[in-house]
């Protein structure tokens, strides 16, 4: 019965974990470092991210056989590794679910790599 109770508790707590929903201002602060990177100004990043994930860090979308994670919708096809795609090239050398947390440092590092290799058209 104890395992039952703990299972119940876990299932109750799970939906209580909320996504981090950035505001435009908050995001501008956090992404200051990306201003001008690869020729993309900060306002363009903010606009792109709005349409990509609506500033929601927990955005997960299935897309053409792959899955895109987080604010920048980084794909498990090449850039990160998850259970679905163990053969991923994993260029950013990171587990995909790290893109779902509130800490954007790892997201930004990977996004810069993507910008270098594929350009803004990735988004």
């Amino acid at each position: 019965m104890m395992s039952f109770v703990s299972l119940l508790l876990v299932s109750i707590l799970f939906p209580a974990i909320q996504a981090k929903q950035f505001t435009k201002c908050e995001l501008s602060q956090v992404l200051k470092d990306m201003d001008g990177f690869g020729g993309i100004a900060l306002p363009e990043w903010i606009c792109t991210i709005f349409h990509t994930s609506g500033y929601d860090t927990q955005t997960i979308v299935n897309n053409n056989g792959g899955t895109d994670y987080g604010l920048f919708q980084i794909s498990n096809k090449f850039w990160c590794k998850d259970d679905q795609n163990l053969q991923s090239r994993n260029i950013c050398d990171i587990s995909c679910d790290k893109f779902l947390d509130d800490d954007l440092t790892d997201d930004m590092i990977c996004a810069k790599k993507i910008l270098d290799k594929e350009g803004i058209d990735y988004w």
Binding site: S3, F4, L8, P15, S53
Partner: protein, 460 residues
């Protein structure tokens, strides 16, 4: 209640204590799962449709009966006379205003009685009503919008006695040029709908609109629903058998031959419940529901204007007119979710209004946007390609509140939306009102709204 014979043949036996414990745990989990499914099913599904599922022909739902069946579990709205209810005060103000306003109202009513006594003129020939003024004198301006109190639709019905069944209202004292059908795309958002009705009915009446409310509910295929009901019943039956076998086993101490029944029964029960919960729900298709709302509303009345509103958006200022203009109108321009400003200049989502001509010019809305996002951008593109522009109120008048909610299931962001928006110009001729197909499953006339449940198919 006890059966005499074990229903699954053989008799229960306990091969080992650990297996016994495992089986018990599995049965308990199944029971919990079934209980949760049952609660979710009853809460989410519309019970008044059950006779139809079983094949009994239902008469058109009487307004109050249908509403009663749905609204039973809701809480009570206690009028405290405290600040949180200014719209309530406004609507009572409306009624008292009507009673005491000079000219139109006090004239005919007591007058007609005296007319009958003084002169034998047939009272049915009332003087023609004047046209409603360009801007309604009943507007109150900014309002406080909150979502922290429960709403009882029965009370809302009482607070809006002029609203006729199906959510129809026509101003009594003047003729309105705005015959507005308000179309709301809907799936499993009954709580939001209650707030919407609570706030919007008084506002729409103050705006002196000739309006009707149409809630278009996306439903999975009837077959899939029936299948999930069957699976549910089957799993309940199997679970009951499993429990019965366990009970029998507990009563008898001595061991018997292992029955074929117990473990497979429990497994089957678990499988059936899983199947029941997974049974068909397709991605939400907002724009197609709006197309359907357009067509279905026109069957009721010759509306000349269509307001398309998400169910969770409430205007904060009643000067924000829910009617049509010479250009397509964007109404939800300053949502709290976007910091009370436009997220981007071409934004056309949330609440918008198109006249019948404007809607027909763009061949209605696209039918192929499944999942969240993009369809409003496609609509914007259509307008622009047909030479129209978007008309908006200013950001003060256009403030709106959105009811906070977590992301819906089966309404994940549509990854195709960016490609699709890039091709609106080509697709708008072949995807829209002219290619709309759907099936109406149910049409409910509730006191405050008309609810049309439709089967819109699946992504092709």
């Amino acid at each position: 209640m006890r059966f005499r014979e074990p229903l699954l043949g053989g008799s229960a036996a306990m091969p080992g204590a650990s297996l016994q414990r495992a089986c018990r745990l599995l049965v308990a989990v199944c029971a919990l799962h079934l209980g949760a499914t049952l609660v979710y099913y009853l809460a989410g599904r519309d019970l008044s449709r059950l006779p139809q599922l079983v094949g009994v022909p239902t008469p058109l739902q009487g307004g109050s009966n249908g509403a009663a069946a749905i609204e039973q579990p809701s809480g009570e709205l206690r009028p405290r006379g405290a600040p949180p209810l200014p719209p309530l005060d406004a609507s009572s103000e409306l009624r008292s205003g009507r009673d005491s306003s000079p000219g139109e109202d006090s004239g005919p009513r007591p007058g007609s009685a005296s007319n009958l006594t003084s002169a034998p003129v047939p009272a049915t020939t009332a003087p023609p009503l004047p046209a409603c003024p360009e801007e309604s004198p009943l507007l109150v301006g900014p309002m406080v919008i909150e979502f922290n109190m429960p709403v009882d639709l029965k009370l809302v019905e009482k607070q809006n006695p002029e609203v006729k069944v199906g959510g129809r209202y026509t101003p009594k004292n003047c003729i309105s040029p705005h015959k507005v059908a308000i179309i709301i795309p809907f799936r499993n958002r009954q709580e939001h709908l209650k707030y919407w009705l609570y706030y919007l009915h008084p506002i729409l009446q103050r705006q002196q609109l000739d309006y009707g409310i149409y809630v278009i509910n996306q439903q999975s295929k009837l077959k899939e629903e029936l299948l999930s009901v069957i699976c549910f019943l089957l799993s309940t039956y199997l679970l009951f058998c499993a429990l019965h076998l366990l009970e029998r086993e507990r009563e008898r101490e001595r061991e018997r031959e292992r029955s074929a029944g117990l473990t497979p029964a429990v497994t089957a029960a678990a499988a059936a419940t899983t199947a029941a919960t997974l049974a068909g729900e397709t991605m939400f298709n907002r724009a197609k529901l709006l197309n359907i709302g357009f067509q279905e509303a026109l069957k009721d009345y010759d509306y000349n204007c269509f307001v398309f509103s998400d169910v969770d958006l409430i205007p904060m200022n009643d000067h924000n007119a829910y009617r049509c203009f010479s250009q397509p109108r964007h109404i939800s321009v300053a949502m709290d979710k976007f910091g009370f400003s436009l997220p981007y200049v071409q934004y056309f989502g949330g609440v918008s209004a198109l006249s019948k001509e404007q809607f027909l010019t763009i061949n209605g809305f696209p039918n192929n946007y499944w999942g969240w996002g993009g369809e409003d951008d496609d609509i914007y593109n259509r307008l622009v390609f047909k030479g129209m522009s978007v008309s908006r109120p200013n950001a003060m008048v256009g403030k709106c509140r959105m009811i906070r909610h977590s992301r819906d299931k089966k309404n994940e962001p549509n990854p195709q939306r960016f490609d699709r928006i890039a091709h609106t110009k080509e697709t708008m001729l072949s995807d829209g009102l002219n290619t709309l197909t759907y099936k109406v499953l149910d049409k409910e006339r509730n006191p405050l709204y008309t609810k049309i449940t439709v089967d819109i198919g699946t992504p092709s």
